[in-house]
């Protein structure tokens, strides 16, 4: 077994009396695509937030490449090499598409610019590079957010519902892009409600329900799992 990129160990997070995440453990190996599914309110986004430092966990540990990252600030987590997108789009609306990408880099501007243009070309948005991101369509904003994450060249990419609201053609491009990232050796963890996407893309799927991990395995087995069916459809 390869050394894990990310290890989540008995992570818990409560909001008042609600246990949003209750003792979840995950182990992600490099160069693989993982899915995180579960009914609404099962704790998927909270788990993302705890990993990226936006929420402070109550208990448990998060290790990235063997290093404790729980307790770090979000920008520190991002700089270590974890990139994420959001369920609700969070581009910088009054920055141009190009500026949205440039702003997250630290190195020489010329190199950043070249990389940003390359990424915009990759998602076929180079013609709109000077448009305010807020003026782009929903799907286009989603793509800007996706390539913005890649500007820092993260080793782990967390995608929160990448397929939601994206049309089929665009979606296929996006899924190809995710596979290419995997082929470059990056690790991807995605939250997704579209089961076709999850089943077609992910090698391992984790299922959350009421903040607990109730199943883990290849998509085919997960689909047949009694507890998963029960969580989604009830008894």
């Amino acid at each position: 077994m390869a050394a894990p990129v990310l290890e989540v160990d008995a992570l818990s997070k409560h909001f008042g009396g609600v246990a949003a995440v209750a003792g979840v453990s995950l182990r992600l190996e490099p160069g693989r695509i993982y899915g995180l599914i579960g009914p609404n309110g099962s704790g998927k986004t909270t788990l993302f937030n705890c990993i990226t430092g936006l929420e402070r966990r109550d208990a448990g540990r998060v290790l990235f490449n063997g290093r404790r990252i729980d307790g770090l600030k979000p920008f520190e987590v991002a700089r270590l090499g974890i990139g994420r997108t959001f369920q609700i789009i969070r581009v910088f609306p009054e920055l141009s598409a190009l500026e949205n990408l440039l702003v997250v880099t630290d190195g020489p501007l010329a190199a950043a610019r070249a990389r940003a243009l390359e990424l915009l070309r990759f998602v076929k948005l180079e013609g709109l590079k000077d448009e305010y991101a807020g003026n782009l369509s929903y799907g286009q904003q989603k793509l800007v957010e996706f390539v913005r994450v890649l500007m820092r060249d993260p080793t782990l990419v967390l995608l929160d519902e990448p397929a939601a609201g994206v049309n089929r053609t665009l979606l296929n491009d996006l899924l190809d892009a995710v596979r290419r990232l995997r082929d470059e050796g990056k690790t991807i963890l995605l939250v997704e409600h579209d089961m076709k996407v999850v089943m077609g893309l992910c090698e391992t799927v984790f299922v959350l329900d009421h903040g607990e991990k109730i199943a883990e395995g290849p998509p085919g087995l997960i689909q047949a799992d009694e507890r998963v069916i029960e969580a989604y459809f009830g008894r």
């Binding site: 600030k73 979000p74 991002a78 994420r84 581009v91 440039l102 997250v104």
Partner: protein
């Protein structure tokens, strides 16, 4: 596109030369009015650096003006400093104040930050009234007589130009874009690896320097300061309205706002002292309702003009 910037720069150079020569031909009133206009440009531009770019609306920015005024006046009156180093010390004092209060206050979001800044200003006013030995308390602090209106005119002009140039440099840089991401979506900025706390503090320090310097210059120019004259809420509101009217987050917006509002105040409203406040309030309401981005912000989005405007 090389023609337009060149014409623009030529225009700026001609304007600068005209302003440099103005004290030779201008009346005493004219020079003093221009001096005050420069002061307003520096104040509105400085407010724009923190509030226009990061979206953290400071409702107590006059605190830095007052801190600079008192620091400068005390150095001049009690330590015998010349006014120019005293003015720079006023800027430094305002930056130190910004550092001390910025660290806790910039963690507050939205209206809480605005209210904290408002409170800071009231605290400073109370403190200056209390420490009579140093500040003269409520009876104020008189500076030795000095006729230096023309040199102070130049110093104010430099302060206004300095703040505007600084704004230009920031807005056209990646640092400036990072400040804007805080305004646009602070959570996303943080998740993308931007150290938002540090960037806010930098912007806050930069926005305090200008008011500190012009506060000390204004103190020297007026020759007498007291707590109510250097910490008035009205000054904060005026700089906010100027920046909003011209276009917050732009380079030339605060300059335009300061010119339009100051000139109209001097020329038109001085004849109608009673409706002056009313008109000011009406302008605030109209700008917020009809042109939330201000004149230049509106032009920028409508005609896709560059950020350097």
């Amino acid at each position: 596109m090389t023609l337009a910037p060149r014409a623009f720069l030529t225009g700026l150079a001609v304007l600068a030369a005209a302003l440099a020569l103005y004290p030779i031909v201008g009346t005493g009133y004219g020079v003093r009015a221009m001096l005050q206009l420069f002061m307003w440009i520096a104040l509105a531009g400085s407010w724009n650096l923190i509030s226009g770019l990061t979206g953290y609306v400071s409702f107590g920015h006059v605190a830095f003006f007052g801190a600079g005024a008192y620091a400068g006046a005390i150095l001049i009156a009690k330590a015998g400093w010349p006014w120019l180093p005293a003015a720079l010390a006023g800027g430094a004092a305002a930056c130190v104040l910004a550092l001390v209060i910025g660290y806790p206050c910039l963690r507050l979001k939205g209206p809480y930050f605005a209210i904290a800044m408002l409170g800071l200003n009231e605290v400073l006013r109370a403190l200056t009234s209390y420490f009579e030995g140093l500040t003269g308390g409520g009876s104020g602090l008189s500076l030795p007589t000095l006729h230096a209106t023309v040199p102070i005119y130049y110093a104010m002009a430099l302060a206004a130009a300095g703040v505007t140039l600084l704004t230009y440099l920031i807005i056209t840089s990646r640092f400036g874009l990072r400040l804007m991401t805080i305004r646009e979506d602070e959570v996303a900025a943080e998740a993308m690896g931007i150290d938002t706390a540090r960037h806010k503090l930098y912007a806050f320090l930069l926005s305090a320097a200008g008011p500190g310097v012009v506060g000390a210059l204004a103190a020297r120019d007026q020759g007498y300061i007291e707590p109510i004259s250097v910490f008035p809420l009205a000054t904060t509101i005026t700089m906010i309205v100027m920046a909003l009217f011209g276009g917050k987050g732009t380079v030339w917006g605060p300059v335009l706002g300061a010119i339009v509002l100051f000139v109209s105040q001097e020329i038109v409203w001085a004849r109608f002292p009673y409706v002056h406040q009313l008109l000011f309030g009406a302008i605030i309401a109209a700008v917020v309702l009809l042109m939330p981005r201000g004149v230049l912000g509106l032009l920028q989005t409508k005609y896709r003009l560059p950020r350097t405007l």
